[in-house]
Amino acid sequence: MTTRLRLIIAGALTIVLLGGAIAYAVVAISAYQARISAPSEVSTTKAAKPGDSPRVVFRNTATGDGYGLVASVPLDDVTGTRTVSDIPCDRVYQTNHYTMCLRIDRGVVTTFAAYLLDPNGKELRKWGLPGLPSRTRISADSKLVAFTAFITGEAYATVGFSVGTQIASTGANGTDGTDYGNLEDFTFLVDGKKITATDRNFWGVTFSPDDNVFYATGATNGKTWLVKGDLAARTMTAIHETAECPSISPDGKLIAYKKNVSTTASPYWSIAVLDPATGVEKILPEKRSIDDQIDWLDDSTLLYGVPRDSSAGDSDIWSIRANGSGSPKVYIEHAWSPSVVN
């Protein structure tokens, strides 16, 4: 083959390959544009402000107009028309006073942030996140917030897996709170021993009703624990092994979490409920692997998100009885990141 011929072949293949990739991208982008500008596949109504009535707030993942925005449905009619706000969040949690919104601020330069919003959606505080939004919670009395992000950004994650979790208070009006900093700076105790290993990680905070005690996941050396944290003393003590993303029941008596039951390197999470008073743990009859921080609908029912296999970026919220009686049921279709606001 002459050099000239080689150049011609290489040029032709460049045009074919790049042209093909561009054509594919253009078709896929316009299909997406058509899909999101189409009317939503569920019944929606627009409102800047969520209602005051008891409701379930979530990230709307229904295809079409309103995808990815914070939405809510009344507790007494969860399959009815959803009220869709104009606030995009990848992870959301709401109380009657505040909304915590974790967001991927997309662009050629993509960044991540946690926002504390007032009931009208006005930004009160913003924290830059070192990576992908993961979990967020607000205490029942709205005085404390917590948020978790995966630390990413470097090619193939050269630091290895790492999460950053912070707790902050909301202060008098949401703008003047105090940061308690990263949980990695707290003292971490397992069996009375202080753990200082390199790979300590903490994520998925849930607040007890008393505003000082919180629960979270602590991990090191491939093991995870349910940890009980003391905000004033800045300590976390492991109280139960193999538990992630705890969520405390409204009455403060039970803790639900995901439990890795896999025997291989890839995790498989069941849902478990622990009674900390007795130490009895019950694994619930959910056969699928669940990767979410559960929320409590009431003192006996759990809510959690499950991605839809058929379409990327869509999921449903399911419910299951906390005492293990009865199988899981779809609670709200095309929704993610539930929080129950009473």
């Binding site: 080689r6 150049l7 072949i9 290489a10 293949l13 460049t14 390959l17 790049l18 093909g20 990739a21 594919y24 991208a25 896929a28 982008i29 997406y32 990815g68 990848d90 991927i104 997309r106 662009g107 050629v108 330069v109 993509t110 960044t111 991540f112 942030a113 830059g128 996140l129 070192p130 990576g131 992908l132 995966f150 990413t152 950004g153 470097e154 090619a155 193939y156 994650a157 050269t158 630091v159 290895g160 897996f161 790492s162 990263n182 200082t196 290993a197 390199t198 790979d199 300590r200 991990a219 491939g222 390197a265 890839s266 995790p267 990767d291 499950v306 991605p307 990327a312 970026g313 999921s315």
Partner: protein, 426 residues
């Protein structure tokens, strides 16, 4: 062809290197770099656009689209690094023994392209992890033979410049890839498949450009016309200057903590760095590609060793930046520039030094040996630094490594001085 090991300019960089008449028409710097080097740079650029675009969005894909956690992913990452280092030695050795660096590199690039096809079909965490492993193995195989091709296609006196041009193009690809991927996700937040398709197109293009446009050099055979040589044996690599290079580079590698830790240090102190954390490596890459050619040329002119050691001084200053009592945008940017300068002064220059000190029949193996030792040393450094970080706190850990580096650089300098003296008297 000149025997690299005895090239005076490269050995004691102070000597003028223009001992040969320049080819006619070669007045600008770029002209002096072989078109093969530029073509190899373009191959690397295309391949880096491909792999870095995927790497940038993989954590997002795993967590948001697949609904999986990134935990196990991070844990096995270290293992891949080890596999990549091991394969790299093998790739260099086979390239030398078979005397076919182009086709060994081709196999490596090809394997990574096949991984991109698999990515389109893979579902589930295990499959994704396997795709990443295959991609890394491909990278391990191709690096040393490709650097040997660059060496075979360059004038010995210009080696640093050639590697500078190659690394600049390579780093442009590494900077463009993630931006392209995020641009796609800006238009379609769930458009992972679009990114994978684009990535495959770039990977295939890289393989095609390499296969069609890079000449099939046979370094040994080309020399054998003038001189009959037996095939390479491991013993041949036991060249005192190569050994010294590997020891010094490995020693300094043990004090090179991962960029990730530098970024974490910055973001722990500065709101600016925290806000832009996911993009800090782009800043480093920009500095890397801006400095790659100038530092490569300076290395050719004033001594590759000097530039290699000065690069580590830049690294030392970057560490110092992260422990200054004040933070802010300026310090963050200065730190990224220093990190980029460190890479520009050491990455291609290390390959040039290894090529210069390797026996003529074992250039790919020599480069592979130096790169592997540095990669393994850095892996150990990152792990060890992690332990220090949590045992002593961030600031103290960085100070200890910085102090050790401040001692190691002059020590390396003295080691090399004695080496040069011996080489001259020999």
């Amino acid at each position: 062809m000149n025997d690299r090991g005895e090239d005076p300019a490269a050995d004691d960089g102070a000597e003028p290197h223009d001992t040969k008449p320049m080819p006619p028409g070669a007045k600008k710097s770029l002209v002096r770099v072989s078109s093969v080097v530029i073509t190899l740079g373009i191959v690397s650029m295309l391949t880096d656009v491909s792999s870095e675009s995927v790497a940038a969005i993989l954590p997002l894909y795993i967590t948001s689209a697949m609904g999986l956690s990134t935990i196990a992913y991070g844990f096995i990452d270290g293992l891949y690094q080890g596999v990549s280092a091991f394969v790299r030695i093998g790739g260099g050795w086979v390239a030398d023994r078979a005397d076919r660096p182009k086709w060994v590199a081709f196999a490596g690039y090809g394997l990574s392209a096949v991984a991109k096809v698999w990515l389109l079909l893979a579902s589930g965490f295990g499959a994704i992890a396997a795709v990443v492993a295959v991609d890394r193995i491909g990278k391990g195989i191709r690096t040393a033979p490709r650097d040997a091709l660059i060496t075979a296609s360059s004038e010995p006196a210009n080696l640093g410049h050639s590697f500078g041009v190659h690394r600049m193009l390579d780093t442009i690809g590494a900077a463009v890839g993630p931006l392209l991927a995020f641009l796609v996700l800006f238009f379609v937040p769930t458009g992972y498949t679009i990114v994978f398709v684009i990535s495959l197109a770039f990977a295939a293009l890289g393989v095609i450009v390499l296969g069609l446009l890079v000449p099939n050099r046979r370094p040994r055979k080309e020399r054998a016309a003038a001189l009959a040589r037996p095939p390479l044996r491991w013993r041949d690599l036991n060249e005192p200057r190569l050994r010294r290079l590997v020891i010094v580079a490995g020693l300094l590698g043990l004090l090179t903590i991962g960029d990730g830790f530098v970024y974490l240090s910055l973001q722990a102190r500065s709101d600016f760095a925290a806000q832009w954390f996911p993009l800090l490596y782009v800043g480093t890459n920009v500095a890397f590609f801006l400095f790659a050619i100038p530092l490569g040329r300076i290395a050719d002119r004033f001594g590759r060793w000097r530039v290699f050691l000065l690069g580590h001084v830049a690294l030392l200053l970057a560490y110092a930046c992260t422990v200054l009592p004040f933070g802010g945008p300026t310090i963050t940017i200065v730190c990224l520039v220093l990190l980029g300068a460190f890479y520009a002064a050491t990455d291609g220059v290390l390959a040039a030094l290894a090529a210069q000190f390797s026996p003529p029949d074992g250039i790919a193996s020599g480069i592979a040996a130096a790169q592997t030792v540095v990669a393994v040393a850095r892996l150990i450094a990152s792990t060890g630094f992690g332990v220090l970080w949590f045992a002593l706190g961030r600031g103290n850990a960085v100070l200890i490594v910085a102090a050790a580096l401040a001692i190691a650089i002059p020590a390396a300098w003295l080691l090399l001085r004695s080496l040069r003296t011996k080489a001259t008297t020999a």
